[in-house]
């Protein structure tokens, strides 16, 4: 039986009220136990989890309030933070992530949301296109560092830079002519 906020009625018989009140107490207990340590336990009231249902719109926040909530972006739930005084909401999550250490290409996210890509690519040739990076997002920054070859000397200037940063891809260009003609690189890219 669900919670009934309108009992007992002044005209209710005690036998009826007893069942209604009992049902309300049980409904309160069961509802409260969702997301929280249950009533009657040492931690009653504290949270086991925050399960956030999607909101149709951004909640208003007062001058001393902030809000953490779930809102759909292209039908996918994401976590949002809204600063005080109903300032601009900030999307905290991107709906996927790939950070396996064994993967040659990985990505995570930062608030915005922005996707942070990184990876190590072996045997890159001059002019090689890296991408499209997945998931697809317009690249806003790319940086490259070049792994030294086993016979490279300190004075060698065999390094690569990212060029033609466009959409979800970029091109690796070597400085000068290098021998051997390939290098391993690591890249850091940010997309939006």
């Amino acid at each position: 039986m669900s919670y009934n906020p309108n009992i007992p009625q002044s005209t209710s018989k005690r036998a009826i009220s007893q069942r209604q009140i009992l049902a309300n107490y049980q409904a309160i207990f069961n509802t409260f136990a969702e997301n929280h340590a249950a009533l009657g336990t040492a931690n009653q009231g504290r949270h086991n989890v925050l399960i956030l249902r999607s909101q149709g719109s951004d909640p208003a926040t007062g001058a001393t309030q902030t809000a953490l909530y779930n809102k759909l972006v292209a039908s996918v739930p994401n976590l949002f933070f809204r600063p005080n005084s109903s300032q601009t909401p900030i999307q905290l999550t991107y709906p996927s992530i790939s950070t396996s250490p064994s993967a040659t290409s990985q990505y995570s996210f930062v608030a915005g949301p922005f996707i942070v890509y990184g990876g190590r690519v072996n045997g890159v040739t001059n002019g090689q296109v890296i991408g499209p990076l997945s998931p697809g997002a317009n690249l806003r920054y790319v940086g490259i560092a070049t792994e030294r070859g086993p016979s490279d000397l300190d004075i060698d200037l065999n390094y690569a830079i990212p060029t033609n940063i466009s959409g979800t891809s970029f091109t690796v260009r070597f400085q000068g002519t290098i021998t051997p003609a390939t290098r391993n690189i690591t890249y850091l890219a940010i997309g939006q």
Binding site: L22, Y25, G45, V49, L50, I51, L79, Q106, D154, D156
Partner: protein, 205 residues
């Protein structure tokens, strides 16, 4: 709120019984309302906090959970779980029992820098450690090596470097050193003269 004499009596979801009269049940009612009030005001605006605050969260204290939480379609769950080698950390799980993501990372040991090196430490969701900062190397034999401390990165996801001087005497090339098996402890780089530079490194832990 008046504290009833049964303040240490836990909430009882099984009252009133059919045979209870009002006189015997009234203290139970009072106790249940009191316990409910006390429990609800933990982490939330109290039941009598006024229309603006009652029911809103004041803080979210997360109790350590033994496992992951289920999520239905349209839901996101946030919870805390113990992580080996760390402490309780914040996790989120995408909708429909999707991917579980470790959001925070905390290491008991902070970074230890070489002389001239400044290390800032942060993290990205997915057990990624970010080390970044600057290095103005002294004239020492190891002046071309930056430490990736604390030594917990088992894979370099990305590394970038740039020079701080006008001419750019840092060559953006590197060599990863593993002085501890399976752990990337430092990165050696190459420069034309001992100038300062800035670096950024992301790694899996």
């Amino acid at each position: 709120m008046t504290i009833p004499p049964e303040e240490n009596t836990p909430y009882n979801a099984n009252i009133p019984r059919p045979t209870d009269d009002l006189a015997s049940t009234q203290p139970n009612f009072l106790n249940n309302f009191f316990q409910l009030y006390e429990a609800f005001k933990k982490n939330h605006g109290a039941l009598d906090a006024g229309a603006t605050n009652e029911g809103n969260h004041t803080v979210v204290e997360m109790l350590e959970q033994p496992g992951s939480f289920q999520t239905d379609v349209g839901e996101i769950s946030v919870y805390s779980k113990i992580v080996e080698g760390q402490t309780d950390q914040l996790f989120l799980r995408f909708q429909g029992n999707g991917t579980e993501v470790q959001v925070t990372n905390y290491q008991i040991y902070g970074p230890v820098a070489l002389a001239g090196q400044i290390i800032y430490m942060s993290f990205l969701p997915g057990k990624l450690l970010c080390l970044f900062g600057s290095f103005f190397p002294p004239n020492l034999p190891d002046g071309k090596t930056i430490q990736l401390s604390p030594y917990i990165m088992n894979n370099i996801m990305a590394f970038n470097i740039c020079a701080s001087d006008v001419v750019g005497h840092v060559i953006p090339t590197y060599k990863i050193l593993q002085n501890i098996p399976g752990i990337n402890t430092s990165i050696q780089f190459f420069q034309l003269s001992p100038v300062g530079y800035f670096y950024f490194c992301i790694g899996n832990i």
